[in-house]
């Protein structure tokens, strides 16, 4: 199967800090991949390199057939980055909805401004996606009036309305109150079952266990484990993975 995302020999430096060390990774179409690891392991940076919110220092990124070499400059490079961004949708930890626009305006902003889509057509797609995340009833509200979970669901609809090939989630539930995590997780599950390719950076081991097709563990800028969730949780190979999973287990069993 042809991978829809292919990362080859990626390096990323922040100043003298080597945060991604020669990372290579292929993600086939329709796969749900979870990236887990302690904070500072490089998992968010890796995700942000895929749509060039972070420019990789070396190596290449391929998304849906578009190949971009990291660390280059110039008009051609910018065009390729733009093309990759059109193929990827991103959901942020802090939602990053546009506060001066209503929910519906947030969602149609990309198609109308970037793709030049007719407003009427964009509204149709936007309303369909808002409906599927259960937020159509708030389409004329401003983001300020929504709960965290509602904001994140709108952010997911906004990314989906660009009709991307791959969805990138950067700790989508980390800024939420515990009781609001479920509604966002359910929306993500639904998108996964609809066949979207998803790369999810998360601390939610439950999601990794139940929904992911594959889990990659990162530590110190490297991929230290790459396996099916059931294998990972029953038989972790690396001691660092074992520590991560033990901590999750002890939290899960702790009296609430």
């Amino acid at each position: 199967m042809v991978p829809i995302v292919k990362i080859s020999n990626l390096d990323k430096y922040f100043g003298r800090l080597h945060v991604l060390k020669n990372v290579s990774l292929e993600v086939p179409e329709r796969e749900v991949l979870c990236l887990i690891g302690r904070s500072g392991s490089g998992k968010s940076t890796l995700l942000r390199c895929i749509n060039f919110l972070e420019e990789p220092s070396h190596g290449s990124i391929e998304v849906a057939g578009i190949i971009v070499e990291g660390g280059e400059k110039g008009a051609r490079h910018r065009q390729l980055v733009h093309d990759v961004r059109l193929k990827t949708g991103m959901v942020f930890q802090e939602f990053n909805l546009f506060p001066h626009m209503t929910v519906l305006e947030n969602v149609i902003e990309g198609p109308v401004t970037v793709k030049g889509m007719e407003r009427k057509h964009a509204v149709e797609i936007a309303e369909k996606n808002l409906d599927s995340v259960g937020m159509l009833f708030k389409k004329d509200e401003y983001p300020m009036r929504l709960s965290g979970g509602q904001k994140q669901r709108v952010a997911i609809a906004r990314a989906l309305t660009m009709e991307p090939k791959v969805m990138l989630f950067d700790e989508p539930t980390s800024a939420l109150d515990p009781e609001l995590i479920g509604e966002v997780m359910n929306v993500m599950k639904k998108i996964a079952y609809d066949g979207m390719t998803m790369i999810v950076v998360t601390h939610e081991m439950g999601f990794a266990k139940d929904v992911a097709d594959r889990v990659i563990v990162m530590a110190e800028g490297e991929l230290i484990e790459d396996s099916k969730p059931e294998e990972l949780f029953s038989n972790p190979k690396d001691p660092r993975t074992k520590a991560l999973i033990d901590r999750y287990r002890s939290n899960e069993n702790a009296p609430q």
């Binding site: 749509n51 001066h100 401004t113």
Partner: protein, 282 residues
Amino acid sequence: MSLFSNKQDAPKTQAELLYEAQLRKERHFKANVALSWLMLVFILVFLFSGQNLQIGSWTFKTIEVDTEFILNEIDFIALGLGETLRISVLSIMLAMALALLAALGRLSTFPPIYALSTFYVSLIRGTPLYLQIFFFFLALPQLGIILTGTVAGVLALGLNYGAYMSEVFRAGLSSVGKGQREAAMSLGMTPGQTMRRIVLPQALRFAIPPMGNDFISMTKDSALVSATGFVHELMWRSVKVGRAQFHNLEALIMAALFYWALTIVLSSIQSRLETYLSKGDR
């Protein structure tokens, strides 16, 4: 019917009583402030009433103003209000454009643009507004550039306020979080689209209240333009009639009252605008 009366008869809770007491206190304070203002205005008017006040063996003589002069010349001075407003509006528009450019220049990573922006702000803030007005009006003709008093005044005020207001715009631009730009970029927006559609609207909302303050102080600084002698705004008119008839006291009092009234009106518009914006969708 009975429902309503029951509700009214119900004993009030402690919280309701406390809340009502606080409201009463606030109303009381506001009423007292208004009353004190009224008294201060009365004292001010009395000071200029030309009365003789006898207290025991003491006689106070308050300031006497020539009411006939005031009635004769009030129309002439009032006509300056339009010119004062016109200069202020034109200048604030120029200032806003310059301030925005200077603020964007300050964010530039291209050294000459960054330098140009800081150079402009430094030069303008480092010299007096009065000098700048004269420079445009008196110094430029030596180079063959002859400007009318109004044009020179608007250019000087606009350049001057633009330099100060660039800080306001800069604060506005930096109040828009990095996440907003990232979200826009992840949707595929170009830097230009991100600026126009996402960053600027939010920055402007942030900058409007302080810009209102600048506009109010500009209406008063526009009086400096009268020094060119060719702009017939409030200050010029009051000085002209005051000097000619040796009634500077009355003429300047009239101009002062016009400026004051203008400021009060503009301030109230400004505070309404601020409430409206803060209620918005932030």
